[in-house]
């Protein structure tokens, strides 16, 4: 019965230790940010931060992250008070369907935490493992660059 610390709050959860973190976040904590995309750690849609590191929650067992700080998209900001990355994605209209956006924003957050003013090519490298099918890559790069400029 893991106790998970998510977005600053502790939760006692009646779930098996080997339940994928993604399903615990989505189904038990009713968080919508992390998305199911592949369950194979291939697309990045399920990305969350664990102690600041980007992690694919679809292949992470809930029991393995007990005591660690888990941050989801909801932990960054809200529609009324969006995080600067969320604000930048909105300003750049960096979405079509938006299904991949969680992973893009969370991965970009981890990048900016270590590299506050990344170059365009550093952004491309950081996001290369996050898949987008609608083809909004250029807008996503612009959104991250916008935050970088404002840093």
């Amino acid at each position: 019965m893991p106790v998970l610390k998510v977005n600053g709050q502790s939760h006692n959860l009646a779930v098996p230790d080997d339940a994928p973190l993604l399903y615990v976040l989505r189904n038990d904590l009713k968080l919508n940010g992390p998305k199911f995309g592949c369950g194979l750690s291939q697309c990045g849609a399920c990305t969350v931060l664990i102690d600041g590191q980007p992690v694919r929650s679809c292949v992470t067992q809930a029991g393995a992250v007990v005591g660690q700080d888990i941050t989801t998209l909801e932990g960054l900001g809200t529609p009324d008070k969006p995080h600067k990355l969320q604000r930048a994605f909105i300003d750049e209209q960096a979405a079509q369907c938006g299904y991949c956006a969680n992973g893009m924003i969370m991965r970009a957050k981890a990048l900016l935490d270590t590299t506050p003013t990344p170059t365009e090519s550093e952004i491309r490298v950081a996001l290369d493992g996050n898949l987008c099918r609608c083809g909004v890559h250029q807008r996503i790069i612009s959104a991250v660059m916008r935050v970088s400029r404002e840093a």
Partner: protein, 744 residues
């Protein structure tokens, strides 16, 4: 300008429902208006008003200063709801934020068919525009009576009608009355200099929620009592479930039920991971009969030519003068199967209520036809099934959305009262979505001594691009495998000529002659259906590659070669604009680099799009690096410039992904492209810089932009690669291995 609008209306008691004032506009008492939509007496109405003629089907003036806009088209990430909200706000004369949209609920909205084919702006946008203008005209007319002020002296600002020092709001006006009127589409549209919304890049209404994790996708729905379903799909096409011992699975923790009906096999469990585990165990327990003799992804081009063909000459204008051509050139082009490959696998919820009503939340593009197909599968009246559209991951055509809705309905029928959520796995989606059909094309041109086309003969071979639900359970994966199966309907090459497999098969150039023949195949090598652009991708790739070949053969600049035989002014304008923005005239060739250009008017009647591209080819690896793509498009009157740019950019990137990397691999042992490793798509490091210029055409019809750029992208790429290394690639995709082989 249009004639003044003089509606007739009846005053009745208001219909108050659910706390909202339902301002029902319906039919005036006249024979013409009461006639069915198809009768010749009914005047032709623009867009989807033609089939949904009452204003009350589209608009409600609701309590609390709101306006409800009801639309049958649905949001797929293409921004359609924001665009139609802009149109409504503009023409009705209210602030954008007053409008609340209901979309894609079969119990509430006008039936606008399928959200596909770049038809949402022409169909829905146009209908909403005229319905809103009509409604404003009626409201102004009412206000004129109430205020005693001539209608011509009244102005509308954010739902307040004022003039000569008097004013009244829409919401005050319609209290206690019901207006009954059919759309006329005769009310004047907002003058261009007074517009607040049309032509402006209004931020998308759905993006803030999507960027902050608000529940907006069907995957995010969690009604009380929800349980999780998973389906065990067949191992290969046309397999049959011989036996399955379900006893072990039924004892697993959380498992509520195993559902088997013929070869349909599913499981319902309390928790998602329990359903996944149970489905894995069921898969291991299942014994299947599998067919042996099937075509493979590599033999499909030969296979196609050996099938029974439905031949149709869709254009037959041979040359009248019989002079011999100086030379004849004949080539073939090939495109493989490719996937929609949504990032989020298909998902649906279904609930069988106490009243026998099956309610389904779905990201289907065709809520009405899917409802009808599911009702047929369940053997119930259509009125007993309700589909509600909720957004999903981008689909780009007919993917697993409808099939998973049918899966959910079958499981929900077995578990009455509990909402059943079925989420396809990545493997399910990759292996079972209907692919974009592989195509083979053959072009033969006779040219004169200067290399100009005299004879143009185009042939194409294709399986179906249209197996959408279409009101028939035989189109649903689950329906096909039940104990009493529904047969897959024999495919037809849908729509008018030049529309499905042969979309854009008629070249838009003014050649002295042109003969175009479609060889349509009704059997299947792999499951196929509508994928962004249908046949246009292969046809434009073929025509525009061949134009490039002919230009090089004639030693004429490929842009100049096209312009010689393109009379259409709007087509010429996008070609010239793309070339200008690319710097075509001043571009200098350097080793390993090349440029290409291509053009098409989508469906020969929608958006004009030209793309110029620069690439670099690494000779030792065969790797193609796309450096930049410059597009110019004309989508008629522009509602949202950024919305169109987003579609064109996205279309270019998706098409580069198809053209550089994608091919579905399958053989008798099944589909081998079953995840993102075995079916890679374009990533950040491979995406070029893209510039898009829009040519706005105020006063011209909306043309729809979602599928305009894919065809020209593929051809511009191949043409640029030819320019770079002198090798012509006629088979997609242009993988490094293929390029390296040709260069060695």
């Amino acid at each position: 300008m249009n004639a003044p609008f003089k509606p007739r209306f009846n005053r009745r008691e208001v219909l108050a429902g659910g706390g909202s004032l339902a301002l029902a506009f319906s039919v005036p008492v006249s024979a013409a208006a009461q006639a069915p939509a198809t009768a010749p007496a009914a005047p032709r109405l623009p867009g989807d008003l033609q089939t949904n003629r009452k204003l009350s089907m589209w608009l409600r003036i609701e309590e609390g200063g709101k306006v409800r806009l009801l639309v049958g088209k649905v949001e797929l990430g293409q921004g359609i709801l924001t665009a139609v909200q802009q149109v409504c706000a503009e023409e009705l004369g209210v602030d954008f934020n007053r409008i609340v949209i209901t979309s894609g609920d079969t119990s509430l909205v006008p039936n606008e068919g399928v959200t596909a084919g770049s038809l949402s702006m022409p169909g829905c946008g146009t209908a909403v525009r005229h319905a809103s203008a009509d409604a404003r005209g009626i409201l102004v007319d009412l206000a004129a009576q109430r205020l005693g002020v001539d209608a011509a002296k009244l102005d509308v600002v954010d739902g307040t009608i004022s003039g000569e020092g008097k004013q009244i709001t829409f919401w005050e006006l319609v209290s206690g009355q019901e207006l009954e009127v059919e759309a006329t589409a005769k009310a004047p549209l907002r003058a261009k200099d007074k517009r607040r919304y049309i032509g402006k890049s209004i931020p998308r209404i759905d993006i803030p929620a999507k960027m902050t994790g608000q529940p907006i996708y069907v995957q995010d729905l969690r009604p009380d009592g929800m349980v999780h379903g998973r389906i065990v799909r067949l191992p290969v096409y046309d397999a049959k479930l011989v036996s399955v011992d379900t006893s072990g699975v039924e004892k697993l923790p959380g498992v509520l039920k195993v559902v088997r009906d013929g070869s349909f096999l599913g499981v319902i469990a309390e928790r998602e991971e329990q359903a996944i585990r149970a489905a894995e165990d069921l898969r291991r327990a299942a014994k299947w009969d599998t067919p042996k003799d099937v075509p493979t992804w590599e033999t499909v081009y030969d296979w196609m030519q050996k099938q029974k063909l439905q031949d149709k000459v869709i254009k037959n204008e041979p040359r009248k003068d019989r002079t011999a051509a100086a030379a004849t050139i004949e080539v073939e082009y090939r495109r493989p199967f490719h996937m929609h490959a949504s990032i989020g696998p298909s998902c649906a919820l279904a609930t069988l209520g106490d009243d026998g009503m099956m309610t389904i939340q779905t990201h289907s593009q065709s809520v009405f036809e899917t409802r009808n197909a599911i009702a047929m599968m369940l053997g119930v009246d259509r009125a007993k099934v309700r589909c509600q559209h909720v957004q999903g991951s981008g689909c780009y055509g007919h993917n697993g959305a409808d099939d998973v809705a049918a899966d959910a309905a079958l499981l929900a029928r077995a578990q009455p009262g509990r909402p059943v959520r079925v989420q396809w796995s990545r493997n399910d989606e990759h292996k079972w979505e209907p692919y974009g059909a592989a195509m083979l094309t053959r072009i033969k041109a006779g040219v004169d001594g200067n290399g100009n086309v005299l004879d143009w003969d185009y042939q194409l071979w294709s399986t179906s691009h249209g197996t959408r639900p279409g009101n028939d359970a035989g189109n649903l994966l689950a329906g096909q495998v039940l104990e009493k199966p529904f047969p897959l309907p024999t495919p037809v090459n849908g729509g008018p000529p030049n529309y499905a497999a042969d979309r854009n098969a008629i070249a838009m150039y003014d050649f002295p002659s042109q003969v175009v023949t479609t060889h349509f195949i009704t059997s299947f090598a792999a499951r196929t259906s509508s994928t962004r652009g249908l046949g246009a991708y292969a046809n434009v790739f073929s025509i525009e590659s061949f134009m490039d070949e002919l230009a090089h053969r004639a030693k004429v600049d490929p842009l100049e070669y096209r312009l010689r035989v393109l009379k259409n002014e709007r087509g010429r304008a996008v070609l010239q604009k793309a070339a200008e923005n690319f710097g075509w005239a001043t571009w200098r060739k350097t080793p390993g680099r090349g440029r290409g250009i291509a053009y098409a008017q989508y469906k020969n009647l929608a958006t004009y799009c030209a793309i110029a591209m620069e690439v670099e080819v690494e000779r030792n690896t065969g790797k193609i690096r796309v450096l930049r793509a410059v597009a110019a498009t004309d989508s008629g009157e522009v509602v949202s410039p950024d919305g169109i740019r987003n579609q064109i950019e996205g279309g270019i990137i998706q098409s580069l992904s198809w053209s550089l990397k994608e091919a579905v691999r399958f053989d008798a042992s099944g589909v081998h492209s079953d995840d993102w490793i075995s079916y890679p798509i374009l990533t950040f490091s491979e995406v070029p810089k893209i510039e898009v210029e829009l040519i706005d055409r105020p006063g011209q019809p909306f043309l729809g932009a979602g599928e305009a750029s894919q065809g020209p992208t593929g051809a511009a790429l191949a043409n640029a690669v030819f320019d770079a290394v002198g090798v012509r690639y006629r088979e997609l995709p242009l993988t490094p291995a293929k390029v390296k082989l040709a260069l060695s």
